[in-house]
Amino acid sequence: MLQQLFSFKGGVKPQTRKAPSVQSPIGQAPMPVRLYVPLHQSLGGAPNPLVQAGEQVLKGQVIGAADGWMSAAVHAPTSGTVLAVEQHVAAHPSGLPTLSVVIKPDGREQWIARTPLDHRSLAPERVRELLRDAGVVGLGGAVFPSHAKLTAARTVPVEHLVINGAECEPFMTCDDLLMRERAEEIVRGTAIFRDLLAARRVLIGIEDNKPEAVAAMRLAVRRLGEDHEVVAVPTRYPAGGAKQLIRVLTGKEVPASKRSTELGVQCFNVATAYTAYRALAHGEPVISRIVTLTGNVEQPRNWEVLLGTPMREVVALGKPKADTSRYLMGGPMMGFEIGDLAAPVVKATNCIIAGSPTLFPPNPPEMPCIRCGACADVCPHELQPFELYWFARARNFGKTQEYHIFDCIECGCCSYVCPSHIPLVQYFRFAKSEIWSREKEKQAADAAKARFELRNARAEREQAEKAERLAKAAAARTSEKKVAPANTETTTSAVLPAAEALPVTDAEAVRKAKIAAAMERARAQRAAVLPRNTEQLTVEQKQEIAAIEARRLALLTSAAPLVGSPPETLTRPEHPTE
């Protein structure tokens, strides 16, 4: 059956430059000296560390437990010793550190107990839990926890399951090679997703510049007797965007306010399907991923790299050329520059590109916007980047939201075509993060206000209660006084006259006596306990102390009339020299 294809608006056709890195098969990257596994590798909650420095871990052992439903676990990529749980530079545009587990591999590659499971014999809820605890997240780059996407909407059955093998970013070939070499596992993983979502049709979309991958996937589908459809889609950036691929394959346009499941569609990356299959059928959690190493290197190639491997060691595998000046993580359109190559490979690291001034010439200076509208023509989300640009530039964030800045997927098409070389996406990222931070501040302010009001209410209540108590006590005292004269004559002849006449002074005297007794006790205690650190002193030290004590005593005796304390407590040094 011939699949009818649709088209999405906009998009660009940059040079793909994929050929160099598909020449050799996926290589197994050597074991690094140290692994730095960041605990927060997915969207959602940051996992809590489960290991401590000095502990032995096995390959695949959970080192960070998922924090709540919207989170995914993190595992030890190999067996070895945990050296530390500390802050280490992250694979993040900021280059700031994040909490990471440092592991020294022991080279034995000793696995945890792996139990192969058949997802069909398990409850769907249990499968989702297993996927979360195996750390399965979207490996296309967004690292969204996959189990959270595997629930169909209550009212709409899932019509289409879209498997994303488009890989539209230039340079990147990790999904291409994975489909060529491990197609069967991808197809089996796809079946897991299909069963969980009860999807009627499965569409695997692959850009038509990857005929080998299309052929390999078709062969695997046929061999496994599945009815998935492998569809070659036209090569146009960003065809690999989830919403774009859904549009191309199904004709459905997912509105900004809705999730794709509400339209009966769900989308996963091919590598995600692969890891889901490995996690269930082999009991292997996500501990490595395929990384494309390309650009200005002698040997561009795809490597299977353990998560936590410092990028420096990965880059060295490709032998970067002498004029390499910088490195990008992700593609040239959406990626970011890595400041420090000590940053580790994480689940989001699909590609590392070595850049040189000739490969990526520096951006020409930004010129004024001429309102040509080229950016609006190429925007796949039908936004108006030139309008957004004015408002973001003027920090008018309310207006940017009116122009739907949060629909922007930061694909970079607008910056790519801008004749004035305006870094439009940078402006949009700036505006987005500014809006998020203001939102957070607003929430914090509201919470502070609520606590302030609660505290005031509490203070008022306490005051009212105290007043009530005092009033009650006063009332009780007056009634007691009325009764008291009758009693004193008959029973209290033995009581001291002072106490009888003034009960208040009596209470005060008792309290004073108690305080005096407590002070006496404390003094006795102090006298009984000898300071421990004076026992093992050298002779010189003892002499020194004695000299100091003598001086102190002389001072005190001269001031003795002023200080009323007994001298024996003063001979004991308060802070003996150590």
Partner: protein
């Protein structure tokens, strides 16, 4: 003549009754302007404006008693928003603007006197008498009200460092290079 008067009187009674009913039925609780102003203020409850909290300051602004530039935690951005809302002029802040801070208790020095707990307007300090106290960092608004009451000066203000969670993309800046 009498009929005319009667008609007018009747009209007055009916309209008066309608207005009276409406004033009860559609009564607005509180002052909506005060609420709008309060939503802009940062809710640190620090009292640096001279009022015992953000709400009293909002009420004073609404009554036109004070300037809008007395809130240092709100910063110049806050002044700008207030000016927009109230149609007043933007004035520079009275005090200098500080980076966001949180209080920190040196637990070695703390004697457990509870004075700071009583001073904290947002219940962000936990501890008990003769037990060491500590600041619940995410709840601290950085109002500095706990610093003065501390008898042993064990509370210091620490600026909030940039980390991965609060990091923001920077405003794009174009590097200017000297022409050769």
């Amino acid at each position: 003549m009498i009929t005319t008067l009667a008609i007018m009187a009747l009209g007055a009674v009916v309209l008066g009754a309608a207005l009276g009913y409406a004033s009860i039925r559609f009564k607005v609780e509180g002052d909506p302007l005060v609420e709008k102003i309060e939503a802009i203020l940062p809710q640190t409850q620090c009292g640096q404006c001279g009022y015992p909290g953000c709400k009293p300051y909002a009420a004073a602004i609404s009554a036109g008693e004070v300037e809008i530039n007395l809130c240092p935690p709100g910063g110049i951005d806050g002044v700008r928003k207030l000016a927009d809302l109230l149609g007043r002029e933007v004035k520079p802040l009275e005090a200098e603007e500080k980076p966001k801070q949180v209080a920190f208790i040196d637990e070695q020095t703390c004697i457990g006197c509870t004075l700071c707990i009583q001073a904290c307007p947002v219940d962000a300090i936990v501890g008990a008498a003769k037990q060491m106290h500590t600041i619940v960092e995410p709840l601290c608004t950085g109002c500095e009200l706990c610093i003065k009451p501390c008898p042993v000066e064990c509370i210091i203000m620490q600026p909030i460092a940039e980390n991965i969670d609060n990091w923001k993309w920077k405003y794009p800046v174009i590097e200017i290079k000297r022409a050769a």
